[in-house]
């Protein structure tokens, strides 16, 4: 390529990206705000008031959150892979979304889960525990006498999604008043959704399974449980987490 052509390419790149460069001030303002640079409080995250009553428990779920779940499908879960993940994803970030017309911000933290998972989680609201190869994300504040709220993530390496879906449906039948295979969905994650509930009362249990192809002949099973009243709260929030669900393969 001759110098004239090089020059044209460079100029084309410059001219066509001016509109992004014009956002420089806006981005700086966001950074200043995020890092509290004007307050001299450079690395302290804002503390969030924790509410303990049941309604805040329900409402917590309506605050926007995002969890990027990174799943390493490689059987050798080495430090190198983890390091690559850490390079790829921010250790902390602020997630902003409008829920019920109100913009909210949450800080989420990259965490290393057990058994080949790395996730972003809002540790002010949720905790993640691992047991028997499953990761369970549940609210820190649990209300007594209300159905449990949680999301479980599990990888079944040797079962295709069709097989997993059949097993889940069979398992749910008889246990729940309503069991529906809602077919393939794209939102919050490309998957097959199986929905079940015990009824229509406020405290009836809702179960949602998202069965995701792991792209290697296996499946991820993501199970959500909450109660009807919390559909717009934790239910929405758990779905928001899945908006950034990622499978990382080496």
């Amino acid at each position: 390529m001759d110098p004239m052509e090089d020059k044209k390419i460079k100029e084309a790149l410059f001219e066509s990206t001016d509109e992004a460069a014009e956002l420089k001030d806006m981005v700086w303002n966001n950074i200043r705000k995020e890092l509290n640079l004007d307050e001299g409080n450079k690395k302290t995250m804002k503390s969030k008031k924790k509410k303990s009553d049941i309604w805040s428990f329900v409402r917590y779920g309506s605050i926007a959150a995002a969890v990027a779940i990174v799943i390493l499908s490689n059987t050798e879960y080495g430090h190198a892979a983890v390091d690559k993940i850490r390079q790829m994803f921010a250790p902390n970030k602020v997630v902003e979304q409008k829920i019920e017309g109100m913009p909210t911000q949450d800080k989420v933290t990259l965490k290393e889960g057990s058994a080949k998972y790395i996730i972003y989680i809002d540790e002010q609201i949720y905790k993640m525990e691992s047991l028997n190869g499953k990761d369970k994300i549940s609210p820190i504040n649990k209300a007594e006498n209300y159905p449990e709220v949680y999301m479980e993530i599990e990888q079944i390496k040797d079962k295709k999604t069709a097989d997993v879906i059949g097993t889940i449906e069979k398992d749910l039948q008889g246990k729940y008043k309503k069991v529906e295979n809602r077919g393939k969905v794209k939102d919050p994650i490309e998957s097959t959704l199986i929905y079940a509930s015990t009824g229509t009362k406020w405290n009836d249990v809702v179960i949602k399974y998202y069965v995701v192809d792991n792209t290697k002949g296996g499946s991820f099973i993501i199970k959500q449980q909450f109660f009807l009243e919390a559909s717009e709260g934790h239910g929405a929030r758990l779905d928001n987490m899945l908006n950034e669900f990622k499978i990382i393969s080496e």
């Binding site: 640079l37 892979a81 080496e250």
Partner: protein, 184 residues
């Protein structure tokens, strides 16, 4: 200059951080836009990149050159944003692939901006090295460091990308021969 700035930032000098931003933001936004193809995504990527730089500045080895480290974070942030709508991201997203899936555009090249569209039409594996090379002027070795790839891989991708652009430019010039519209 960078080293002195970075030392000050480590000491908590926010003005130094502002200077660093001022020095790097313009190009970072341009590169991010070409990678994400969206100015708001570019803004998001640059914002997260600077926040990461600020929070992780102590982990940066001052003996090394700052810019490749910075752009490595930026490209990763761009990939993170691009990956939002996909469920799978390969850690090494740039596996060498000799097959050429991209098609050269059949745009009717009428204006200068169509060259950008031609660049935009390149596959990521060629486009990102091209952008880093032309827009930011990185050396092949620096691009290899940023993308975590072998330098020969980068050379190969740059070569293929340039060849493709060269053909497109030639077509542009043929199309616009005589009317003077190209290159204004």
């Amino acid at each position: 200059l960078d080293r002195r700035l970075l030392e000050k930032i480590r000491e908590g000098d926010n003005e130094a951080f502002a200077v660093l931003y001022n020095n790097y933001a313009d190009y970072a936004l341009r590169v991010a836009m070409t990678v994400t193809r969206n100015k708001m995504s570019a803004a998001d990527a640059v914002q997260e990149t600077f926040i990461r730089v600020y929070r992780n500045i102590n982990s940066f080895d001052l003996e090394k050159t700052f810019e490749p480290w910075f752009y490595k974070i930026l490209i990763n942030e761009c990939n993170r944003i691009l990956g939002k709508d996909t469920k799978t991201i390969a850690i090494d997203d740039f596996i060498e692939n000799s097959s050429d899936h991209s098609k050269e555009d059949d745009y009717k090249f009428e204006e200068y901006e169509t060259l950008y569209k031609a660049i935009d039409s390149l596959e990521d594996m060629s486009r990102i090295p091209i952008v880093l090379s032309y827009l930011k002027g990185f050396k092949d070795s620096e691009i290899a460091e940023i993308l975590g790839l072998n330098i020969n891989t980068i050379k190969s991708r740059l070569f293929k990308g340039r060849q493709k652009l060269k053909r497109i430019i030639e077509r542009l010039e043929e199309t616009n021969k005589g009317d003077g519209s190209y290159g204004r």
